[in-house]
Every structure is written in C-alpha cells, then in structure tokens.
C-alpha cells in the first residue's frame, strides 16, 4: 500500500521463523558498526596476525624462499602446537579489546533508554534477546580467533599432507574449543557488565578492571598467603591453564600472548574448569536479574 493513503491496516502476510529472530539483533548491530571507521580499521588490523602466520606457513613450504633465506624446512619457525597456540593467544588478546569496545554498547543503551519492554512485549524472549546480543560478539570474535586458526590449520595440512593432519588433529580441536571457551566467557562478562553499568565507557573500563585488577588481587593473595589458589580469581591464568591442557603444551612464559601466560605453580586443571563455570553461571545470573521487561520493586 502506498504511504500516501495514511491509514492504519492490519497485517496478515507471511512471518519469519521464530527460531531465526534472534539473528535480527546482530544484523542491526553490524549495520551500525559498519558505519564506524575506527571499528572497521581495528577489525582489519586484527587480521594482520593471521596473514603473517599464513605467510610463515607458506615460506616454510616454499623451497625457493627457504633457499633464499638459507634455511631448511622447519628451521625458521616450527609449525606445531605452539605455533597455533601463539596465534590463538594473540588473536584472543585482540578479541578482548574488541569485546571492551563493542560489548558495552550492546545492552547498556537499551537499559538506559528503557528499550527492553519494546523487545520483550513481542514474541521475543529474554533468552533470545541475550542470545541475539551475544551473537554480535560471538560472530565477531569467531571471525578473529578460531576461523582463521582453522583456515591456517587447513593450509598447513594441505601443504604438509594427510599424515600431518591425522597426527595433529588435536591442534584443530584445541583451537576450536579453546577459542570458544574464551569467546563465551568474554561475551558473558561483557554483557553482564554492560547490563549492570548503564554508562558505556564505564562498562568497557570495568571489563579491563575485571581482568587486570582481579589478576593483581590474585597475585597479592598468592604472595601473602604463599598459595596458588589466588589464581582462581585470575581469568587469564584460568584460560591459559585450560588452553595448556587442550594443546598439551603448558602456557609458560614465551607461549601465547602476554595475557594468557601461566606464572608460578599450575593450578589443578579441574579447578580452573570449575572456576570458569562458576564465573559464567554468575554472569548468567546477573543477566537474568537485569534483562526484564519491567523492573520489580519489592
């Protein structure tokens, strides 16, 4: 109907499938982010490391290039679990900055502008809202972490042959699951902070606080009480330890990005898993308290 008729009319046309509606939120968020030059630049910069890693893999398998560098295959940088762990560590650090930049803008403006009743008065649940908002981070961080990681693994496998792939399949598994653990934790944390702090810059700052202040606090506990259990408060330590077990390579100094190095004694891995689960459950609880159509004043 033409707009000039200017009258109200009902709608009896087709509907989109209910399961797919949470994807509307990331689509709109990406439309908005695309307009930000800073975001586009930042995102392109995060792709530099995978390109460099791809170049290394290529050079390692290019005899003329190796001859030119007067090196043998595997002499430059060995393509092994540690290589991929380094990639994951670096990209995950970039993902952290992205979460601090994008995460706070996801929920806090909706809370500040009282937009939640508008979303939740529709056939759209709280879980779909959280999933939709989380998808923005999940998609962006996936593109930065495990997707380039697996592409590099495929590149290396195609150049090295089937035997290498069979022998190192655990690297692909570790890349995939290791990245997802980090992505989920980071997404939940940034959404929970964004839901509790309505001011965007403060929510972004708090995400840094949770990592660095908690790490400092953990270090202080360890030093004062001469224990290792303070590490349970240090998120980067927990992730580093879990990655170490997945890659079958401890994350000591020199491994992965600076964020995820495990210092001092290692904490039992099951304790790290439990701590990560508790933190995630706490974030979900915070979100369930805040993401409501109407606030209840008891």
């Amino acid at each position: 109907m033409a707009v000039y008729k200017q009258t109200y009319r009902g709608y009896d046309g087709p509907s989109t499938p209910a399961w797919s509606r949470f994807l509307i939120l990331p689509r709109y968020a990406f439309e908005e982010k695309r307009r930000s030059k800073f975001f586009t630049m930042f995102f392109l910069v995060t792709m530099l490391a995978p390109l460099i890693f791809a170049l290394i893999i290529y050079v390692e398998h290019n005899l003329s290039a190796l001859k030119m560098l007067r090196a043998g295959q595997g002499d430059l940088i060995p393509i092994n679990a540690q290589f991929f762990q380094n990639l994951l560590g670096w990209q995950s650090m970039m993902a952290f900055f992205l979460a601090a930049f994008v995460g706070p803008g996801l929920v806090s403006p909706d809370l500040a502008n009282n937009a939640l009743p508008l979303y939740l008065a529709r056939p759209f649940s709280r879980a779909e809202y959280v999933l939709g908002k989380m998808s923005v981070l999940l998609i962006l961080m996936s593109v930065m972490t495990w997707i380039p990681g697996l592409l590099l693994f495929v590149l290396q496998g195609s150049l090295e042959g089937g035997a290498w792939v069979a022998q190192n399949l655990y690297i692909a598994r570790a890349l995939f699951f290791g990245a997802w653990i980090w992505i989920l934790l980071l997404s939940l944390l940034s959404l929970a902070l964004s839901a509790w702090v309505k001011w965007k810059p403060l929510a972004g700052g708090l995400l840094f606080g949770v990592f660095f202040v908690a790490a400092g606090f953990a270090g202080a506990i360890n030093a004062i009480l001469r224990t290792q259990w303070g590490n349970l408060l240090n998120l980067s330590h927990l992730i580093g330890a879990v990655w170490g077990s997945l890659f079958d390579q401890p994350m000591h100094r020199g491994t992965g990005a600076v964020f995820f190095r495990v210092h001092g004694e290692e904490t039992p891995i099951w304790c790290c898993w439990v701590a990560l689960l508790v933190i995630s459950a706490f974030c979900l609880y915070l979100l369930s308290r805040k993401i409501r159509g109407a606030e209840v004043v008891r």
């Binding site: 109907m1 707009v3 000039y4 008729k5 200017q6 009258t7 109200y8 009319r9 009902g10 709608y11 009896d12 046309g13 087709p14 509907s15 989109t16 209910a18 509606r21 509307i24 709109y28 908005e32 403006p109 909706d110 500040a112 502008n113 009282n114 937009a115 009743p117 508008l118 979303y119 939740l120 008065a121 529709r122 056939p123 759209f124 649940s125 409501r292 159509g293 109407a294 209840v296 004043v297 008891r298």
Partner: protein
C-alpha cells in the same frame, strides 16, 4: 463473542506483597479502559498480561491463550505502547520501527514498508529519517504508538498514551486511537489517569483499586440507558410548558431560573419537546443528556469499601 481478556483468579505478588488480588473477569469490549489511582495495579496488570511478571496464582487468557503456557503466541497478537520514554539509541525513526516489525516476525521488506506507513499514519512522515534521540516528547509518544501498531497486532495495550502531550497533540493522539478503535479489527486496552481520555476512547471500563476490581462498567450500555434523562434550561417557560411535557408522559422536576430535569418515556423524541416549546413560545437555551459521568462511576468505585466487585 470471544473474550479479549479473561482474568481467572489472577494474583501477582512482588515478594510477599500482593499487588493484584485474585482478579476475575471477562473483557469483551472493542476498547477497554483501565482506570485506577496510583498503585492500584494498572501497570502491573498490563505487565503481567505481557508476560513481564509471573502470576503467583491463577492466570489470564488473551484471545483464549493462557499467559502462563502460551505467552509467546499471545504476544504475537499484541502491540504495546509503554508509559515511559522508551526507544533504541542511535537509530532513525524508520530504522527503529523496521527493527520492531522484524522482531514481531515480519519479513524485512514488509517491515520496511509498514515502518514507513506507520510513520506517515501517526503524522511523523517528514521526521522518519531523523534520529529518535532528537524527537520532542510529543513525537516520541507518536513514535511509540507507531511501533506498537507497525506489525498489525490484534490487541493494543496503551499505557498513558497522552502523557506529556500538549492539547493539540493530545487531540491528535485521541483521534488516532478512535480511528483504530472504529476500524474494528484491533481491540484496545487503554490505561490512563485521565478520565476524559478513557471516556472519549473506550466502551468498557475496568476500575482497579488496591489490586482489586472496584468496578467494571460497560460505558456504551451506560450511555444508552441514560439517554432518556435530560436537563433543560429554558427561557420564557411557565407552568403550561411543564404541563404539556407531562402530558407526553415525562416525569419532570423544576428548578429556579428555568432549569428542569426530566425523564422521557419510550417513544417520546426530543423534537416533540422542541415542538411544544415552539407552541408555548418558550426558548430552550440548553439541552443535555444527563447521565452518570465516568467521573461519577469512578468516584463511586473509589468510595466503595474493599474494592467492590
């Protein structure tokens, strides 16, 4: 006629505090007014029907769909205009409406088309590409109405729709609500403090007091029932005119300054009164249908102890 909303022992508590106390009723009107003093539970009732609050006991049904078990299906039929300022930051008006329509299940193309239509319909066509944050309060109210109808709901919840509007904007809002009501394919639940808004837009009214239903009244029937009660103000009237009216079968009561009240029996029309006045050379300066105003109904409900119904 299928009830629009059925309340079945609906009780809502916030912690230990009961807010809605065992509400029962069946609302069938095209436009239902929800009245009550502050804290009576109007917004809680709307929020519960929308699924924002879980009932402590009992339930409610919207078009026969239980809000406990079929909340999502029920919400497919609903449009909601919240009382407070509500919008999504950093979006243009038409972008906002498109998002709202898509979240209600409309495909992107239809959502865009209807977003434009809704904006034109509420009179914001020229401002649809402006950022919502730059809208005046009146424009935001209109944008809220537009987002509530953009997906073509069957039942519209309007929570204080004329809040903060100047008289012309209020008149425009009331006109839009009446237009929606008169189309007949969309039913309304209008919550307001302003009796005049409810009186102008609604044909049924539910009055809440302290979480209970204090009164439920069909305004349309009330209007019909009271059509025969008249108040007249005459000039030049005398006993002859009163006697002539009484001969028609009217009951009359006379007051000083030519004022009189009368009840007309079935079959007597107002033009007969004018004819008698013309014969007796009497001027009828004012003629009002006297009925219980919504204000009378509201005040009676508020005076009743412990709610009422």
């Amino acid at each position: 006629m299928q009830p629009v909303i059925e309340l079945d022992n609906l009780e809502v508590r916030f912690g230990e505090r009961p807010i809605l106390k065992k509400l029962n009723g069946s609302l069938t009107g095209r436009a239902i007014g929800l009245l009550g003093p502050n804290g009576a539970g109007k917004s809680t009732l709307i929020n519960t029907l929308l699924g924002f609050h879980q009932p402590f006991s009992g339930t409610a049904r919207i078009f026969g769909m239980d809000i406990r078990t079929q909340a999502k299906s029920a919400r497919c039929q609903l449009g909601y205009m919240p009382e407070n300022d509500s919008f999504i930051a950093g979006m243009t008006g038409v972008h906002f409406l498109r998002l709202m329509a898509e979240l209600s299940g409309l495909p992107a193309e239809q959502a865009m088309e209807r977003a434009h239509e809704a904006f034109f319909w509420v009179g914001l066509g020229e401002a649809r590409y402006r950022n919502l944050g730059t809208y005046s309060l009146g424009m935001k109210q209109m944008a809220k109405l537009a987002q509530a109808i953009v997906h073509g709901p069957k039942l519209l919840f309007l929570d204080e729709p004329t809040n903060g509007l100047d008289p012309p904007a209020r008149a425009r809002m009331i006109q839009l609500i009446q237009e929606i009501r008169d189309r007949g394919d969309l039913q309304l639940l209008l919550s307001s403090h302003l009796l005049r808004d409810v009186d102008e837009c609604c044909d049924e009214v539910l009055i809440l007091k302290d979480g209970r239903i204090a009164a439920f009244c069909n305004l349309e029937e009330e209007r019909r029932a009271n059509r025969k009660f008249l108040e007249l103000e005459t000039r030049g009237g005398n006993g002859t005119f009163t006697a002539a009216i009484e001969r028609l079968g009217c009951e009359t009561a006379c007051f000083p300054n030519g004022r009189m009240k009368l009840v007309m029996p079935e079959g007597v029309e107002i033009r007969q009164l004018y004819a008698l006045a013309a014969e007796g050379n009497v001027q009828i300066r004012r003629l009002n249908h006297k009925r219980d105003s919504l204000e009378d109904i509201f005040l009676k409900a508020m005076e009743a102890p412990n709610g009422g119904v």
